[in-house]
């Protein structure tokens, strides 16, 4: 057995650079996904034909693999004259994908808010939009934070698929050095450890955010 982790420190700056891109993709992807998920959730709970569009979007995206979606965007769309950079394709792919899952998360959060909140808001003369923005959504978001955090972790890990469409993220960087030095176990272990580090930090941040929010609504101000 020849296992030699001493090779890693030399390449660590490159791996960290790759991890930086991974974080960038995950953050931009989830931000786009939150936007799409919110719109899709509102469409889905609306009693208009728009809800069928949301249904279709969620059905389509959840029913197909992310890698296929990325291939379609990056390799397929140029045939229709739409050429996107690998970076743009990745962010859009991750966004569309996480958005479909977040749509259900937000819908669940919104529907969990008691009807009385809407009635109280409307009876104060607030309109439907203002009610959603000021009263319902802030509460729904709080309920959604654990699932939103979960989706962020999934998106961060899923971003490794973007390595296949030429992104030099953490996985692709590791892959490059692994094949160059034949130290596959060392580099992929290093990649796994860095992914684990990132997801652990995100989990911890989310827990403290949840704790702060719940403490605020339970006890502050006495």
């Amino acid at each position: 057995m020849n296992l030699d982790f001493s090779i890693i420190p030399k390449y660590l700056p490159f791996l960290l650079q790759g991890a930086g891109l991974t974080i960038e993709l995950a953050v931009l992807g989830i931000a786009f996904g939150i936007l799409l998920g919110l719109v899709a959730a509102l469409m889905k709970i609306s009693h208009t034909p728009l809800r069928y569009i949301a249904h279709f979007y969620i059905w389509l995206i959840r029913g197909t693999p992310l890698l296929v979606q990325l291939f379609l965007i990056y390799f397929g769309l140029p045939q229709l004259g739409i050429t996107l950079s690998a970076f743009a394709s990745s962010v859009i792919g991750l966004g569309i994908n996480s958005g479909a899952y977040l749509a259900e998360v937000f819908r669940g959060g919104i529907e969990a808010i008691p009807e009385g909140q809407t009635e109280a808001s409307l009876s104060l003369g607030m309109g439907k939009f203002l009610t959603m923005r000021r009263i319902i959504f802030p509460q729904a978001l709080r309920i959604s934070i654990p699932s939103l955090g979960n989706q962020f972790i999934i998106t961060l890990k899923d971003s490794s698929l973007c390595s296949v469409i030429t992104m030099s993220d953490l996985l692709q960087t590791s892959q490059r050095f692994a094949s160059r030095t034949f130290a596959s176990l060392e580099f992929y272990t290093a990649a796994a450890v860095l992914y684990l580090l990132m997801t652990t930090v995100i989990s911890a941040l989310l827990r403290s955010l949840e704790w702060r929010l719940s403490r605020e609504s339970r006890t502050r101000g006495n």
Binding site: Q117, S123, L130, Q139, S217, R218, G221, N222
Partner: protein
């Protein structure tokens, strides 16, 4: 909290004022699916009048109240609020709702906002009041309901009676012409009912037009100008508290009041 008891303005004063109709209901019908909940109600409430609606659960009294600020769409009939017809169009509905405050059985305070933020929410975002002006007015209202010391608390930390008093202050912050109360004390522990009724009594003495659905017959007897007994979606009998409680004419009213007394 101790609000000094101020005797209710005398009926003579009331009569000397020109009778201005604040709420005018004509031929109101409300169906839920095939179920007719309100079956033709005509009613008028004058400015400054306190009307208490009584009746068994399922009689339609709460639905009637919810129709008055457009929380329920009307199947048939017409409602005028201060001579303006209540329409289902959202822009005109919003204008009417500013003038009709509503207090709910479950308070429905906004749990993510502090007590003060609950009270200034609509003045700031609906009436576009400046925040410092809204805060000043809100503090006065919270003082009035005896809860200024709770202004920075979240609703989850309040007792039921405190929560309901905040809900009343929140509705009053819009300077409504009419206040609707939908069983405001039914969700409260018995020892907390009094503090809410005291605030409502004070409001009645200040001349607010009020329509109250309640099972608190003591409150009805003491504060109401008129009591309306509703059964099966219709007004069975109405009159002064003395008439209704001491000398009910209709069999159904007698049966209902008889059930309450045991």
């Amino acid at each position: 909290m101790n609000l000094a008891y101020i005797p209710k303005k005398s009926k003579v004063d009331n009569l000397s004022l020109p009778e201005k109709s604040m709420i005018n209901v004509k031929g109101l019908v409300k169906d839920f699916g095939k179920n007719r909940v309100i079956d033709g109600i005509d009613a008028t409430v004058s400015a400054g009048e306190v009307v208490v609606l009584i009746g068994a659960s399922g009689s339609g009294k709460s639905t009637f109240l919810r129709c008055l600020n457009g929380l329920e769409t009307l199947t048939a009939g017409e409602i005028l609020i201060d001579s303006v017809p209540l329409e289902s169009k959202s822009s005109s509905l919003k204008l009417i709702r500013r003038q009709v405050g509503m207090v709910f059985q479950q308070f429905n305070l906004f749990p993510h906002l502090t007590v003060l933020e609950n009270v200034i929410e609509a003045p700031v975002h609906v009436l576009n009041q400046k925040k410092d002006i809204a805060v000043k007015a809100a503090r006065e209202l919270l003082t009035k309901v005896g809860l200024l010391d709770k202004q920075n608390c979240y609703p989850g930390t309040l007792s039921g009676g405190q929560g309901q008093r905040v809900a009343i202050a929140r509705a009053l912050a819009m300077h409504p012409k009419i206040m609707l109360f939908d069983e405001p004390t039914s969700a409260l522990d018995p020892e907390l009912v009094g503090e809410v009724l005291t605030v409502m009594k004070q409001l009645a003495e200040d001349g607010m037009t009020m329509v109250v659905v309640t099972h608190e017959m003591g409150f009805a007897r003491e504060v109401a100008d008129r009591v309306i007994f509703i059964d099966e979606g219709r007004i069975v009998e109405e009159g002064s508290p003395i008439q209704i409680f001491s000398n009910p004419q209709e069999k159904r009213t007698q049966a209902f009041l008889g059930r309450l007394s045991h």
